[in-house]
């Protein structure tokens, strides 16, 4: 450690988004030359805290100091950069229409003048070589034509590259979510090197192993506050899980659901020439697993289109409903009320004469409100007045309230709190028992415990079908990564 004073000192930080209390008085410190791991359940406030630190949002209360300097109202991303703070945001933030080298220029204003391209190419290539040896990325490729994993590498390399500006702290918000194991390990190694040379890193991840390997200190957040701060060596998996709260409070195990009764013909049949043919029977919950971005969502969409009558290799014999995970772009109708958002998929069913039956929709909406405990005073309120998790419940209600026999779920639990998750798990089991067929794509391996069978995806293809005893975490991970480093 170079100096005793912490590099970053945040105290009493509060942030409210309307009624949602994202941060409720958080104290947070980062020392020079150390890596802080930040963990917590979805919606705990991790990203919000980092957005405050990097100047993207202003806190309602509390203060932020970097290098002993108090940052006042004029603080913004440019100000953060001046203090040597760099961020890799949770959502990718490269410009897809620019090349890799050009994207470096966006975040490094000092690269300019004649010959800037050559300089930018060299800087980003050197950095990529340093962090991810053997990455195979050309600096002149347009970002839109890179795979998600490579985009993530570019973004990480961009954050660590330095031209003239100083670099003190790099914030990595779930940097490994779409990296393969090999690259993730390269990153952890690099973080250790970087820290060893006196830099600082904040690492956010849901992969606890990574956190334990890379961090010097770990901060656990829950419901907008920091609940545990300690040296990394004092933590192990069990303690992390306990401190994060009721995340693992569920006691179900793999194999809890026995995929028994297959009655009647399948409602979805995939192309027969596939090595592992996709089939779905009524009453089943089938999981889609694998690393994110490996074709699971595309498959769900194709099944959905097949159910709408599109011709293709996939055959679906019943109507389908879709629960979007990416609420903002795939789910919400922002000008409408909660009720209208729920019944947009039931326009035909709720017809009285020629007109849509608004009274009946309202009555049914009341039922859904109590069944899913949607927290709002009035289902006639605008959908955006709901917190993210409650918006997600409305999307569940939309699918389950329709008369579709097939329910397709695209990582639907993003932003749903733990209590509700347990309730939703039960409702899903109920729906399956009532003869609905469900497909559930999830990035959380634990959730696959609620499935009868699981298809693992890699590079757009089903590479494994797991059920019964074979359905366990090791097999899922194994199938996801196989041959991945080729």
């Amino acid at each position: 450690m170079q100096s005793a004073a912490p590099l970053v000192k945040m105290s009493g930080v509060e942030k409210n988004f309307g009624a949602a209390r994202a941060l409720t008085g958080v104290d947070f410190e980062v020392n020079r030359g150390s890596c802080v791991g930040l963990v917590g359940h979805n919606g705990a406030g991790k990203s919000t805290l980092m957005n405050v630190l990097s100047g993207v949002i202003l806190p309602d209360e509390g203060e932020v100091q970097i290098g002993g300097v108090l940052l006042d109202n004029g603080y913004d991303p440019a100000g953060a950069a001046r203090h040597g703070v760099r961020s890799v945001f949770q959502e990718l933030s490269l410009c897809p229409n620019l090349t890799v080298a050009e994207n470096l220029r966006i975040s490094h204003p000092s690269i300019k003048g004649i010959g800037w391209r050559k300089a930018a190419r060299k800087v980003i290539l050197d950095e990529l070589d340093r962090i991810f040896p053997g990455h195979g990325i050309s600096p002149d490729t347009e970002v839109s034509s890179l795979s998600i994993a490579r985009r993530q590498m570019v973004e990480i390399a961009r954050a660590f590259s330095s031209v003239t500006s100083k670099i003190e702290l790099v914030i990595l918000d779930e940097p490994t979510s779409s990296l393969d194991q090999n690259s993730a390990a390269q990153l952890v190694d690099f973080v250790r090197q970087f820290v060893g040379k006196g830099g600082s890193v904040i690492l956010i991840s849901h992969l606890l192993g990574e956190i334990l390997d890379a961090s010097d200190k770990i901060v656990v957040m829950r419901d907008g506050r920091s609940v545990a701060v300690d040296e990394a060596r004092n933590f192990n998996r069990a303690r992390l899980v306990r401190d994060m709260g009721d995340v693992l409070a569920e006691n179900s195990e793999f194999g809890a659901r026995s995929g028994a009764k297959r009655e009647g013909p399948p409602v979805v049949t995939g192309p027969a020439e596939d090595e592992h043919q996709l089939v779905l029977y009524p009453g089943e919950i089938v999981g889609f697993a694998g690393l994110s971005g490996h074709g699971q969502t595309e498959m769900l969409v194709r099944i959905f289109e097949a159910a709408q009558g599109a011709r293709g290799p996939i055959v679906a014999t019943d109507r389908a409903a879709f629960v979007a995970g990416d609420r903002q772009t795939d789910g919400i109708f922002p000008l409408w009320s909660i009720t209208q958002n729920i019944f947009v998929s039931s326009l035909e069913r709720l017809k009285k004469g020629l007109s849509f039956d608004f009274e009946r929709a309202e009555r049914e909406a009341q039922d859904w409100q109590s069944r899913l405990s949607v927290r709002t005073a009035d289902m006639g309120n605008n959908i955006l007045s709901l917190s993210g998790g409650n918006q997600q419940k409305a999307l569940f209600a939309r699918a389950l309230g329709s008369d579709a026999g097939i329910v397709l779920m695209d990582d639907p639990m993003r932003g749903v709190d733990v209590g509700t998750k347990q309730e939703v798990y039960e409702i899903l089991a109920e729906e399956a028992a009532n003869g609905r067929a469900l497909i559930w794509y999830t990035t959380e391996t634990d959730e696959l415990k609620h499935c009868d069978r699981v298809y693992v995806f890699r590079e757009g293809k089903i590479v494994a079908e797991l059920s019964g005893d074979a359905l366990n975490e090791a097999n899922i991970l194994g199938a996801s990564f196989e041959k991945e480093d080729a």
Binding site: F322, P334, W336
Partner: protein
Amino acid sequence: MTWVSQLVQKPWVWAWFGAVSMWVIITGVSGFGAGGQVMSAAASFGTFFVIVAIGQMFVITLGPGNVDLSIPACMTLSATLAMKFMNGDPGLLVPGFLISLGVGLAIGTTNFLLILFLRIPPIIATLSASFLYQSTAIWSNRGLRVKPPEVLGDFAVAKVAGVPILTLVVLVVTVGMAFLLHRTRFGLSVLAVGQNEKAAKLAGIRVERVRFLTYLMCAVFASVCGFFLAGFSGGAALNMGEQYLLMSIAVVVIGGTSVAGGYANLTGLWGASLFMFLLVSMLNTLGLSAGYRLIVTGAIIVAVIVVSGRKLAR
């Protein structure tokens, strides 16, 4: 008090506010009698704006990039073919009207197919196709002006108690369209697609079918407008639709429909139609020259967007 503040929240208020202001100015300059007469004229001519604007409104509600630029050509072609076929014979009124409808259906379908299969942005697809429609109109009658059957002409200008009958008919149609937009599966689907096309698709709405019906409807309204306008003004002319291109867009937008899609209302269409007619009349009454009239018109359109845009910004 609260109802006032609630009222100014409604995007369509501004159009009506504008219309009333224009009327007050005209009445102030020319007296009360003139005010009544100009209102009756505004109802007559505003009706034609409303007919095309209803279709355009549904199209614009589908979201950014959706706008039908083939309305003028559609009006011309429909009127030309129908008038030529009827050739003034009242007995052929019904088949003549069916021809006009057929033109609308054909043009709507063509527009949609160009957008769907050739993936040309709607704004350019409808513009390019409109040249073809216009050529067809020229080819079919070389611009000869055929008189409409007398009954059609009489119907188009008839009034009861100073109110044009056509206006009453279109008022009823407007109410029907409001029902269609706000209460039926089709209307709600249009609003959903306009808010978030991807989400609409995933919510099970047949987006392309909705788009097809919308462009079809727009063309049919344009062709019907052409039919009655030819009756009203004594025959079809090759340039009869020219004014209706910008007018249909302006009426929709000033009427409070969101160009970002997903929000529409029909009340504003009437306010905006009356407003656009009264604005020109007011400028004529004040005797402003053409240059100033254009500047004032443009400035008012921008001002309305700036004022009503504030509430839509989220």
